[in-house]
């Protein structure tokens, strides 16, 4: 049976790692926003754990009784504001995803990237970036999606 602190740190570590894995490995924009939310949850837990003490009381005085050891209120205040900012950022990300879908009709990262490169090339009046320097995998992906 592992120690409680180790378990909690493991949870925070796992959430952060799963969040980063989601950002790196998923191809769908909404899935990436989900992963950002997971990463944020893990970061908040880690921040709160930074000054965690086993056996401390909540930093609130109830009926005039002052506990001997109280939890640190500073990271709690930080996490409180971080959660509220987080929901604002998520809302912004979701509205951007909505805009991307209206503009390109897809939410797949590779498709969106291809459309954006095409748009930039069209706007600048040049051909698509020269594919002779691109890695072989990118070239075949481009041919497949272009066909």
């Amino acid at each position: 049976m592992p120690d409680t602190g180790l378990l909690l740190y493991g949870g925070a570590f796992g959430l952060i790692l799963i969040g980063i894995a989601g950002i790196v490995l998923s191809a769908h924009l909404v899935r990436i926003i989900f992963a950002v939310a997971l990463l944020e949850a893990g970061a908040n837990l880690l921040l709160l754990l930074a000054t965690w003490h086993q056996g401390a009381a909540a930093p609130i005085i109830v009926a005039g009784r002052v506990p001997d050891l109280m939890a640190d209120p500073v990271p709690q205040a930080l996490v409180l504001t971080a959660i509220v900012i987080g929901v604002g950022i998520l809302a912004l990300a979701l509205s951007l995803a909505l805009r991307v879908q209206r503009a390109y009709g897809t939410l797949d990262m590779h498709e969106v990237r291809r459309h954006m490169e095409q748009d930039i090339a069209d706007e600048a009046g040049i051909d698509m970036p020269s594919s002779s320097h691109a890695p072989a995998a990118v070239q075949t992906a481009r041919q497949e999606s272009g066909a």
């Binding site: 378990l7 959430l15 799963i18 899935r31 992963a35 939310a37 949850a41 837990l45 879908q101």
Partner: protein
């Protein structure tokens, strides 16, 4: 207390994986709010009732609503958006 933390952490990590693996976006959203709910119980155990309230109201409540609205607008409400 230790067992409660163990169960919560295991549930949270499992649903975090489910968020990324599930094909249906609405199911992934449900898994995401399970993570938030577990996190808010953990915050209570860490003696941070203010943060727990915020996480329950915002993480499990409002942001799920936000995601659900956005999924509806994005047309991913049913069958994961893949016809």
């Amino acid at each position: 207390m230790q067992w409660l933390v163990l169960v919560l952490v295991v549930v949270m990590l499992t649903s975090a994986v489910a968020v990324l693996v599930l094909k249906d976006f609405l199911a992934a959203l449900a898994a995401l709010s399970v993570v938030s709910l577990g996190l808010s119980v953990l915050f209570v155990i860490l003696r941070a009732p203010d943060v727990a309230m915020t996480e329950a109201a915002i993480g499990a409540g409002l942001s799920s609503l936000l995601f659900a609205l956005a999924l509806r607008r994005l047309g991913l409400w049913r069958n994961g958006g893949r016809p």
